[in-house]
Symmetry: C2
Subunit: 206 residues, 2 copies
DNA sequence: TAGATTGTTAATCGATTAACAATC
DNA sequence: TAGATTGTTAATCGATTAACAATC
């Protein structure tokens, strides 16, 4: 029996479930029904049950889902039962904020390398991270075996940076620059341009 | 003949088209085919044509779409043919970076108010923006008539902040805090937790 | 037991794609 | 004209929801 593929749209929701379960766990909740969880994540109870059924049978009839066990299962499925090193490119205001953001470490990610092409920034320390010269990017990422990149450069630089990240062996890119990236098949890209959701909302505002 | 509703999923793509068209316009491109645009946004040409047909008949047979005209139509549809004031709550590293981000002004948004509850931050200047006390939030947002809020506080504070934004008349919230917000019917919320897309990608990494 | 809740099926709903007539 | 490209239809594909048997 072949292991069923989890649809992309479900994969997109899994981290949201995990986040909610971690919050519940902190609050001491041990068990939660799909109906109650529905209120906490904004998806329907039926969808939650269907989504969870793709990762296993964790629910208890009449009781709901065991929070801790399910969170662990989700972490395993999402491969965040380990810590991923991330390379950050671009240490302007945004890059700086990202380098200092505590939320990564707690949830499976660690900014291990930071690059900027501005000589004035190279050598600067952010916590115990030292900003390195972008010229060393490929070499340094290769030798550290980093597989995830974060782009926080201006839009003009982003495509070139992406290509060099790929060249260095990076397989997933989180792009803050407001531009679509063209990457080889198999390289994942996610976008976080804050203007996109803002404009989506203003469509509905008058 | 009733004006057809534009499906949510299409609305979500419209800002991405607009962003691409603005980049093309800067590059001096006057006309672009759905096929060529497909490469620049990552959606299929058929989908692009179908999406564009929901906002009007701008295409020219044998030629493609007029970039400037279409961009203007998109701006009108998205209601970013004006400038929206935004209230920012939470001026830590991230909030600070957002307050200084130039990309908003160029694309229809202006941080008009910034709040923090930390007395050490109140009164600080970021550009020509003065950080105000969160205690004044409802009053100040009301008197300025601001309709959009951005939350960049820790997760623990976000729900309370959201409720006060709604109380102040805010109708759309961009939430950077890693938590689901519960808001009254009719209030829009978009989420920008960077860990969510990272975990989505690690699902596919080994 | 009675009450609650899962996991799953079938039905519904919605989105994407392929194809092509129309035509600049 | 010949070549290119739109706008739209119909077919396909996929996701969500409602409902309920199973059962703790």
């Amino acid at each position: 029996m072949k292991k069923k593929e989890i649809p992309r749209v479900v994969v997109r929701r899994l981290p949201i479930y995990l986040r909610a379960l971690e919050t519940l766990l902190e609050g001491g909740v041990e068990c939660i029904s799909s109906q109650e969880l529905s209120r906490q994540v904004g998806f329907s109870a039926a969808q939650i049950r269907k989504d969870f059924s793709t990762i296993g049978e964790y629910g208890r009839l009449g009781m709901g889902y065991p929070v801790k066990e399910l969170a662990e299962a989700l972490r395993r499925r999402l491969h965040v039962d380990r810590v991923w090193d991330v390379a950050l490119v671009g240490v302007g205001d945004l890059g700086h904020a990202l380098a200092r953001y505590q939320g990564f470490a707690e949830r499976g990610f660690r900014i291990a390398l930071a690059f900027d092409k501005d000589p004035a920034k190279v050598g600067a320390k952010i916590g115990n991270l030292v900003v390195e010269d972008s010229a060393q990017l490929v070499e340094r990422i290769r030798e550290r075996g980093v597989k995830i990149g974060m782009i926080a450069t201006p839009a003009e630089a982003a495509q070139t940076v992406a290509e060099r990240l790929v060249q260095a062996g990076v397989r997933a890119i989180l792009n803050y620059a407001p531009i679509h990236l063209t990457v080889p098949e198999g390289v994942l890209v996610e976008y976080l341009d804050p203007v996109i959701p803002l404009q989506e909302m203003t469509f509905y505002l008058t």
